[in-house]
Symmetry: C2
Subunit: 340 residues, 2 copies
Amino acid sequence: EINADLQDYSHKRYNILTGEWVLVSPHRAKRPWQGQNEAVSNEVRPSYDASCYLCAGNTRINGEVNPKYEDVYIFTNDFAALQSDSPSFSVTDGLLVAQSEKGICKVVCFSPDHSKSLADMAPDEIQKVVFAWQREYEELGSNDLINYVQIFENKGAVMGCSNPHPHGQIWSQSTLPNEVDKKNTQQLNYYKENNSSLLGDYLKQELEKDERIIFQNDAFVVLIPFWAVWPFEAMIVPKKHQSNILSMDTEEALLYAEAISVLTKAYDKLFNTSFPYSSGIHQAPTNGEANDHWHWHMSFYPPLLRSATVKKFMVGYEMFGSPQRDITAEIATQRLRELL
Amino acid sequence: EINADLQDYSHKRYNILTGEWVLVSPHRAKRPWQGQNEAVSNEVRPSYDASCYLCAGNTRINGEVNPKYEDVYIFTNDFAALQSDSPSFSVTDGLLVAQSEKGICKVVCFSPDHSKSLADMAPDEIQKVVFAWQREYEELGSNDLINYVQIFENKGAVMGCSNPHPHGQIWSQSTLPNEVDKKNTQQLNYYKENNSSLLGDYLKQELEKDERIIFQNDAFVVLIPFWAVWPFEAMIVPKKHQSNILSMDTEEALLYAEAISVLTKAYDKLFNTSFPYSSGIHQAPTNGEANDHWHWHMSFYPPLLRSATVKKFMVGYEMFGSPQRDITAEIATQRLRELL
Ligand SMILES: O=P(O)(O)O[C@H]1O[C@H](CO)[C@@H](O)[C@H](O)[C@H]1O
Ligand SMILES: O=P(O)(O)O[C@H]1O[C@H](CO)[C@@H](O)[C@H](O)[C@H]1O
């Protein structure tokens, strides 16, 4: 049984993966909204757009021509935030501390079809994206320069995506970014103390309780974590203890694709709109260590709260204090479950 | 001399107050933008709006009537995220950990004039807001329930502000929110080791270098911290070592008001728009301890990057990795300095 207080009164929940807290204010969901509304674009896009720099056969801003690709197409980001050939330097000048960072940034087109999103693609099409992520994780990870590979997608204009063509990105780099570092520490501490996987043990508990599970198949669980921050945040977790996505075999890759498909389709139904989000895969660093404490997972952070046009703002209190949410993880789970 | 590499190549900078890193990619400022544009509202607002629930004499949604206030007016938030009379409970059920959180949330109207923002107010008008913050910090802080008082403002629709009437908020609560907890730890460690103030020592270094100082008067410095995340993020720091805003005398309060005025006016000039931001004061907890390690400061996190309509999106990489910026703190300082 869900603890009733958690549905009625302000409380904070602990994120076992980062060691941080989220403030939950269930009673506040009734607050009226007179603030900013997001623009909704329900325009139907064509399958090919001559002005899109990601469509097959088109010329990019730097003059390169995209091949006539048929499923997934990957290239190095033309405006990469990280570069592999920048110089090494470090600054330690009293309390000013800086350090050069090298890396490789790539763009991953999910499909040549400009009109689609992952939610519109069949599981076997998404499986090809998964295979591409695996190849990139392996190739980038085996580069001496790279110790961490961040795979992510920004979907929708509200998430800073500048091109609606279905695509994601990979930023790989020499050191562990903040969020990965936190999860590395928390998982390592738990693994040392309990000799088992933090996320694996959490998953067992969630499967028993069945209060926050949206969907599962033989290899994956889609759930809203107890400590979710965004209103409809969700996580896809492999049932087996796998430290990175390379451990998945072909069949598991299809089941993973199915999980992505089920979740993104439910999202689109929720507010009857192409649901914006940022998603990302957190997995073991590629620093040559065993990293057995890592249990990889994919998270979705969607900003919408009440409708296609009203989002949750992570602003003043959230920036200076802690993230804050109104609707509870359990209510959000129920709403998404009903849409499967 | 500014290290030239920091202006040309990707690197990360260390935030001494939180212990986290920001990724800086100076070369990326040249990236073209085809993504979402924010709506600009340069409409001139009337001094009084009959439909505004914050204007003097108007009735709020719960039926209460605002007094005919003349400068600052404070009331308890009608949709408070934290309440003082909610029950105490805690959940520790395997890896599910939660804990009730009590608090008091208030709304602070800066002026009865609906048309103004802090940037339009005279320093002696802003000083009255500072006095009100001091009174609230003292009163809330002396409540047994409250161990931390977060003063903040969300300005502009893009920052989730639902009413353009000049106002901020105060969320006070029993425990330390994440960001405050990090700064508490970092300052405490430094204080124990060096027997001096982390931020005070940093300030000395910045004043000597004069590369990131926007403005100073006898009591305050306005600067862009070395580790700033948002494109035009800035910080107001008292020159004296003060752990909270109560230490300010009347004259210092006016100099603080002047610093706020100078910064917000420069912001408005930057893109010729009423510049949106979230601002917040980080200061000592009100937990009855000495908290001598704390050096209070006020930060401004404005989202705009290139113009009144193009903001920086903290999305995929930033959510899953680390915050990332293009324009450096030094260039941003120069641009703001020129507008004084
Ligand atoms: O309290 P308001 O102004 O209604 O709401 C605004 O500020 C709050 C505190 O930062 C946020 O939680 C909300 O998302 C935002 O819309
Ligand atoms: O790389 P893009 O799609 O041009 O840019 C988008 O994603 C990046 C990575 O999350 C962010 O740094 C940018 O702010 C955002 O607009």
